[in-house]
């Protein structure tokens, strides 16, 4: 029997017709009906859906610096259990990923862990300070081959620095992933600004603080003809601006998080900081606009913004708590739950938004590939009927700050193949 060679029997690629898939030495070698198992290990997958593994453009792995919250290894475990084959690791580590040395270290540890491909994101500015450009070219030319640059956690608010960054990355087909948040309009901001923030006395984070930056940035990207990616779009107005920019031919892409698709600001009334996230949970109308935007392709990708925090960072009063929530292990279930009622949504669109589109944006050429002969065997098998209750302590992440604890999410990732290696079986990581 050949190692890492399998015949997946009876699953439905993209939720469509039943097909068998032959995987040999990390590649899909045959797709068809009632294939001969020959000497391969047979994976019985009737009733399950087969998709290309997911790609996350926005993950905080916390290493180096905050290994108490997450490590590249623990984050990789969480990612593969969530069905991902590649994650883009955000630059806001300690030290900041603003030099070739740091991004190469993250990339190397990711390789050594070997459960997913870890693509480091480089900082746009030195130390995320928003003042001087980091060595973008050196990071791009490093063995990490950085293509995505972001000061995420901070907005590149200086329009001149943003313009220069957009121009500079054109030399190596890079993209600037903007955390769109006007810092002056969000001083001390704690939650979505609206009727509820007024009642709760929590300082508001107005939608306009996101939308005004996106509007400015799409105009800048258009002016210098470069690639802009908008991180965690959270408002109906942002969707409208991105839609307009795309119609105008601007090279802009956008992502939405699973939590902004599903959760709304009313959860903040509990004052439980597990619901504290940046950008904040918005209104019901915003979630509906985000779902529609994701379905029609205005929003290109789902990205988790997986943001682990140690227990004490959330076990406190709201103002003192850290922003952020876990996302990798719950992403699929949350997206399926959120999008269930949205028209023009099926497994094909889900696969595009969670796999091929983010891979294209990040230039991860070996990921997000179609289920076709000769393609890399990064596959997930999903049981569409099995549900799962989220238990914070049972997650692979080192942190437990999931807003979904106690919720039952639809569908379940049962098996994951990474480069043809069957590393998740029955929802559990091998070894």
């Amino acid at each position: 029997m050949s190692l890492n060679s399998y015949l997946i029997v009876g699953s439905r690629p993209y939720g469509e017709e039943v097909q068998d898939l032959r995987i040999v030495d990390g590649r899909i070698t045959e797709i068809g009906v009632e294939l001969d198992p020959e000497n391969l290990q047979v994976i019985e997958a009737h009733g399950r859906i087969c998709l290309p593994s997911f790609v996350d453009l926005h993950t905080h792995l916390r290493e180096p610096g905050r290994e108490d919250a997450e490590t590249i290894a623990s984050g990789s475990r969480a990612a593969t259990l969530g069905g991902f084959s590649a994650v883009f690791a955000m630059a806001n580590t300690t030290p900041v990923a603003d030099t070739a040395g740091v991004v190469e270290q993250v990339w190397r540890i990711g390789r050594e862990t070997g459960l997913v491909d870890v693509f480091p994101i480089g900082a746009v500015s030195v130390g995320l300070q928003g003042e001087a450009l980091a060595e973008l070219g050196a990071m791009a030319a490093s063995s990490a081959g950085v293509t995505v640059f972001s000061d995420d956690g901070h907005c590149v608010s200086d329009p001149l620095l943003m313009r220069r960054a957009l121009e500079y990355v054109k030399t190596f087909d890079g993209v600037i992933a903007q955390h769109a948040q006007d810092p002056r309009l969000t001083q001390g901001a704690q939650m979505n600004e609206g009727e509820l923030s007024g009642v709760l006395g929590l300082t508001g984070w107005p939608a306009v603080a996101e939308e005004s930056i996106i509007a400015r940035d799409v105009l800048l990207a258009s002016h210098v003809d470069s690639r802009l990616h908008v991180c965690h779009v959270s408002t109906a107005g942002s969707v409208a601006i991105v839609r307009w920019a795309k119609e105008m031919g601007v090279r802009v892409t956008a992502e939405v998080t699973p939590h902004h698709l599903l959760l709304t600001e009313d959860l903040v009334s509990s004052f439980d900081p597990v619901y504290k996230v940046n950008p904040p949970l918005r209104s019901r109308a915003d979630t509906l606009a985000l779902r529609e935007g994701l379905a029609d392709g205005t929003i290109d990708a789902v990205a988790t913004d997986h943001a682990p925090h140690p227990h004490e960072a959330k076990d406190c009063e709201w103002d003192s708590a850290a922003f952020g929530m876990l996302g990798l292990e719950t992403a699929l279930g949350v997206v399926v739950a959120a999008m269930a009622e949205t028209p023009n949504w099926n497994w094909r669109t889900l696969s595009d938004r969670m796999s091929s589109a983010p891979a294209k944006i990040g230039r991860a050429r070996n990921h997000g590939r179609p289920l076709a002969i000769g393609e890399p065997a990064h596959l997930v098998l999903i049981d569409p009927k099995q549900t799962r209750e989220v238990v914070a302590e049972a997650l692979a992440s080192l942190s437990g700050n999931t807003p979904y604890a106690g919720m039952t999410l639809p569908v379940c990732v049962t098996d994951v193949f990474f480069n043809g290696v069957h590393q998740v079986r029955g929802g559990e990581l091998n070894g």
Binding site: E195, G198, V199, G201, E317, S320
Partner: protein, 312 residues
């Protein structure tokens, strides 16, 4: 009722019970001159993360009049100033056996967290949490309005109450708007748009940018304190301009109906939101608010941890 966190948790019946109990406690203590043994053996901790001598003293006196043991835990000079978390302070208080925590904190929801995060089992009484709420202030104000304008009544139907000034940053305003509206009063919020919260138009109140236009309709007017730090040209051009538009001076007070009362939660900026003449005039009930605040604090403590002990 175990905790008192927000007036929005109070039904009209709850509110009237607190107001009636405050009245009754005042009677049986001969206006506060006699101690009641009701909370003997109970420990009330005043946990104050913000300086507020007035509120702290009021809660201390309220607890002592009910014979409770009172411990004051002030942020200054304690481990809190060295960075101890709210949770660790809560665990310490739990270990000391506090029956009630009266908490003042700068973070909205801090009292709610103390009550519901699973850190301790004590009753929690919110003595002001950031810009969120200050329920006993509003209860005291309701007591004052009732005593002056609707003695013994079970609602405030037909009353119009103006709340003037910096509603955005005021927990007193929030608690008063929701409490007075729940009692049936028509509440009018008056101030410059920069000092009104987003969404206030959907609260149970009317909104006006003109004090002068509303004065003749008000049965009670509540002037909010304006913090000096809001006056640096960010929320309002200047103190003088604020005072000209929203200050209650003698000329404006003369436009109020004859029976109207003037309120202020204190401490006042005399000459800014209220002139000294008006603050000291016969229609000012500002010192009554202080006395009545103490009465409703007694009533709240009694109802939260007095169990089934009868008032007498």
């Amino acid at each position: 009722m175990k905790h008192l966190i927000s007036v929005q948790d109070l039904s009209r019946t709850d509110t009237l019970q607190i107001l009636d109990t405050a009245l009754e406690l005042d009677r049986v203590t001969d206006g506060g001159t006699k101690l009641l043994p009701t909370l003997r053996g109970r420990t009330v901790v005043n946990l104050f993360y913000e300086d507020s001598t007035r509120t702290r003293l009021s809660f201390e006196r309220a607890a002592k009049r009910l014979s409770a043991d009172v411990v004051t835990f002030s942020a200054k000079g304690s481990s809190v100033s060295k960075g101890e978390s709210l949770k660790d302070t809560a665990l310490t208080l739990k270990a000391m056996g506090a029956d009630m925590i009266v908490v003042r904190h700068s973070s909205p929801g801090a009292a709610h967290r103390l009550a519901h995060a699973g850190w301790l089992e004590s009753s929690v009484l919110n003595a002001g949490d950031g810009k969120h709420e200050h329920p006993t202030q509003a209860l005291g104000d309701a007591f004052t309005i009732r005593a002056r304008l609707r003695p013994e009544a079970s609602d405030f139907n037909g009353l119009t109450i103006g709340i003037v000034g910096d509603v955005l940053h005021s927990r007193v305003a929030r608690s008063n708007i929701f409490l007075l509206a729940s009692l049936g009063a028509k509440v009018v919020v008056i101030g410059p748009p920069t000092l009104l919260p987003v969404g206030v138009e959907n609260w149970p109140c009317e909104v006006s940018y003109s004090l002068d236009a509303r004065l003749p309709q008000l049965d009670a007017i509540m002037m909010l304190r304006v913090q000096q730090e809001r006056m640096n040209g960010t929320f309002f051009p200047s103190e003088l301009e604020y005072s000209r538009a929203f200050g209650l001076n003698r000329a404006r007070a003369a436009v109020l109906p004859e029976h109207a009362i003037v309120m202020h939660p204190g401490p006042m900026n005399r000459g800014v939101e209220i002139s000294a003449e008006v603050a000291d005039s016969a229609r000012s009930v500002i010192t009554e608010q202080v006395a009545n605040g103490l009465k409703v604090r007694m009533a709240s403590m009694y109802l939260l941890i007095g169990g089934d002990v009868s008032v007498t």
